[in-house]
């Protein structure tokens, strides 16, 4: 397998090396260079769109900032391309940081609008600040030169191709590392990422900065390829074009951006050739006809799914015959392509190919990570949290949590003894989950304080609290769905990495050591919770009960002193509950304190050392399980209007 890869890479290198001679046409070489430049930008766009799951409409603007940074440095200050292009990386990354500020507060459609506003402002400012940018007239620069040697198109081709290959390698390394997993975790569940010590704040900023840096790099190279830049190049259409290229090629892959870039650069050529376009329309019409015939033969009675393909193909045929030239309808076609990809090709072309291959040869496309089998059984790391031996591990004092007029928690005290299993029960809406969220820092209590392991943590961010040794699971599962079970646990182990971005990009021994150790431990943890067989399965595909166990495994990766389990038995079958009880017992045996919220009374009462009962946001009882169970107040809270019957 490895030999095949090396041979494949070698073939690509040779192909890229001889390409300009082979094509031997300045225009087409120029197009290939443009594909490589767009691909570099798309690698960056993929970090934001594919990994963190946000829609960025700012990338044409960022591309423009990069292009103008290089252009101005060259035109006004006379900087050579090998200084100007790296500078545009930094300038654009700085703008990316600016863009990340609102991104920290909002997501989804709001963020999409923010990025759109950012891109529009960039376009306006480039247009208006003519003292710097020469306004709508644009900037014309000379061909790049290296030590007096003028680089012609085919020379510059090699510069761009080398940068492209290096960018691909580095981006690939980043995204396959713990940093890439952190980005992906943001998409899966920001709350869970925070509670695993992966600061949403930090990694969102990071993702935007890297993404913008790549856009800047692409912009800089673009300037020296085109030799003329004007503001209206970097408009909304270009942004939409980038998004189309990325989702059509395939998100979360390196090949997808290359393919997508090739499509959007070359498609206009196809559209210019009306004969070719008509030919394509016929092929599509035949394809749709075959699809319809198959549908009818298979005897399905629902014709609804046929309507859109048939109407679409008919409209395409009609327009192919009606129109004499397509150039003016370019954007419309891009628009329809987006609709097509969004509804019929969600994984993009590369994703679709992978799915087809995966259907026949699953092992070829899986996300299996290599694991060194030598160090098995390392579930428990040496306790590296400075855990004191005496007193309560966790003390919540007079917690008041108010939402508007509602007091979800009203002056609750909670003390959890080291090494114990502390049950927390109460009817629905009594404040248990609110308590959990206060303890882990998702809510800041209105009044009162939480002291964990000797220091006050109320007011800290969830990720800071997590890194002090508090891990949790979620009542409504918050797994990173598109990541494998192993990768989920690896996010929990994020705190074990000391490597930084440079380590990852250079693949230093330190990073390799840490990665190997983390994978080994993640595999051991999965074995401990009984998920060894599901190691390389995507979390969302696991059975429900297994997903609950995976959440516990992921929390163990944090190496916690205190583990909070929020209804771990909900939805589990009886044998699964037995396994769960066994796992919780073992966790306690290894010195980890447990807080257990649970509705299955046999679970709580069977394994808890102390049980607290909440009702209407107040603690109404506390003590040994047997004592709590016979407390009349508890019976009243659970039975309710018993007196009336």
């Amino acid at each position: 397998m490895k030999a095949v890869r090396i041979l494949g890479l070698l073939a690509i290198f040779v192909l890229l090396a001889i390409l300009p001679r082979w094509i031997d046409n300045e225009y087409y070489v120029h197009q290939v260079v443009l594909i490589a430049i767009y691909a570099v930008l798309l690698f960056g766009l993929d970090i934001v769109v594919g990994y963190t799951g946000e829609v960025s409409l700012a990338h044409a603007g960022l591309f423009g900032i990069g292009a103008y940074a290089a252009g101005i440095l060259n035109w006004k200050m006379g900087w050579p391309f090998y200084l100007a292009i790296p500078s545009s990386i930094f300038v654009t990354a700085a703008f990316g940081l600016l863009l990340a500020l609102p991104a920290l507060r909002v997501t989804g459609p709001y963020l999409a609008m923010v990025t759109l506003a950012f891109g529009t402002i960039a376009e306006i400012l480039i247009n208006e600040m003519d003292f710097l940018t020469n306004g709508p007239l644009g900037i014309t620069i000379k061909k790049p030169a290296l030590f007096g040697f003028i680089l012609e198109e085919q020379h510059y081709y090699y510069v761009v191709v080398i940068v492209f290959l290096v960018a691909m390698l580095l981006v690939n390394r980043i995204l396959k590392s713990h940093l890439g997993r952190a980005f992906e975790a943001l998409r899966g569940s920001p709350v869970a990422a925070d509670c695993m010590g992966v600061s949403v704040y930090r990694y969102k900023v990071f993702a935007f900065a890297i993404s913008a840096g790549l856009a800047g790099l692409a912009g800089g190279m673009f300037t020296f390829n085109e030799l003329y830049i004007a503001p209206n190049t970097f408009n909304f259409e270009l942004t939409v074009l980038f998004l189309l290229a990325l989702i059509m090629g395939g998100r979360k892959t390196r090949l997808g951006p290359v393919l997508g870039a090739a499509i959007v650069v070359l498609l206009p050529n196809v559209l210019n050739d009306i004969e070719l376009f008509r030919y394509l329309a016929h092929i599509i019409a035949v394809g749709v006809a075959l699809f319809v015939i198959r549908h009818v033969i298979s005897g399905k009675r629902t014709f609804k799914p046929l309507v859109i393909p048939v109407v679409g193909a008919a409209a395409l045929e009609w327009s192919a015959h009606k129109l004499q030239e397509m150039t003016d309808w370019r954007i419309t076609i891009f628009g329809f392509l987006i609709l097509f990809v969004v509804y019929y090709l969600q994984e993009g072309i590369i994703g679709w190919i992978r799915n087809v291959i995966g259907h026949y040869r699953p092992q070829w496309v899986g996300r299996a990570l290599a694991i060194d089998k030598a160090g098995e059984g390392q579930v428990w790391a040496a306790p590296d949290h400075a855990v004191k031996k005496d007193g309560a591990l966790l003390e919540a004092r007079q917690i008041l949590m108010q939402f508007g007029g509602l007091k979800a928690l009203n002056q609750v005290d909670l003390a959890v003894t080291r090494g114990s299993i502390h049950g927390l029960i109460g009817p629905n809406g009594s404040g248990k989950s609110t308590m959990m969220n206060v303890l882990t820092g998702i809510y800041t209590p209105t009044e009162g304080s939480v002291v964990f392991n000797g220091s006050t943590i109320s007011g800290d961010t969830p990720s800071a609290i997590a890194l002090q040794g508090m891990a949790r699971t979620f009542q409504n599962l918050q797994l990173f769905g598109e990541m494998t079970a192993l990768e989920n646990v690896l996010v929990g182990l994020h705190h074990t990495y000391k490597s930084n971005l440079a380590d990852v990009m250079l693949n230093t021994p330190r990073y390799r050591r840490e990665e190997a150790a983390a994978r080994m431990r993640a595999a051991s943890i999965l074995r401990f919770v009984g998920l060894e067989a599901f190691m390389n399965e995507e979390a969302r595909n696991l059975p429900y009960g297994r997903q609950r166990l995976l959440e516990i495994g992921r929390a163990l990766g944090l190496n916690p002193a205190l583990l909070l389990l929020d209804e771990p038995a909900a939805g589990l079958t009886s044998p699964e509950i037995k396994d769960l009880i066994e796992i919780i017992r073992k966790i306690r045996e290894h010195g980890i304190t447990v807080i257990l919220i649970e509705h299955h009374m046999d679970v709580v009462m069977g394994i808890s050392d102390v049980v607290s009962v909440l009702d209407f946001g107040q603690k109404i009882s506390e003590g040994k399980p047997a004592a709590v169970q016979s407390d009349p107040k508890v019976i009243e809270a659970y039975l309710g209007g018993q007196a009336s019957t």
């Binding site: 009817p427 629905n428 009374m601 009462m605 209007g641 018993q642």
Partner: protein, 244 residues
Amino acid sequence: MLEIHDLKAAYGQVQVLHGISLNVPQGQVVTLIGSNGAGKTTTMRAVSGMLKPSAGRIMLGSKDITGLPAHRIAKIGLAHSPEGRRVFPTQSVRDNLLLGAFTRLTLGGKRPRGDIQGDLEKALDLFPRLRERQHQLAGTLSGGEQQMLAMARALMLKPEVLLLDEPSMGLAPILVDEVFHIIGRLKEQGITMLLVEQFAAAALGVADYGYVMENGRIAVHGPATQLRNDPKVQAAYLGGSASH
């Protein structure tokens, strides 16, 4: 009146109901009890069309309502007072009640129109606390008042069957008593009801027949008086009787 045969339902990949069969005869109150996560609310949601069942059959009278969207099931005559009350907070109590009669007020509504103003008055008589607050926004009501509004709103449909999901949830004990008192009065009026409750004792006190759910299945069922003395029923709501 309401018959459910072998109902199965899932949230995404997670199967929650593994084949529920139950029967609510005309004019009777049937209760569905069981521990949290047993699937009681899911059953209700599948019946009223908030969730599409994956298999099984639901009959309302002579009509098959399996898999229909919620608004069409409402038109056929099923009212559902959902878990968590779900009143319309930005609208007045009166408007909430009128919306309950939406299927009677509108052209495509299909439910017999009848005397809407009269029914509105009757509902306010049944819940005097709502009469005092009829022009207030529903969002400003207390939890107990919202629960009453949710029940009154469901009644405005003049339903063939009324589903009540956890009417006591989050209420202070004194209000729980009041809610059950009202359920008793509705029963006297001959309204067919399916009642989901976590307070099993109270629910069995008012119901004619009961079903106990465990892990998405019906574990026990029988006349309410019989279930009240059944040790298995104790296990369903306070749990643990098997383990200690």
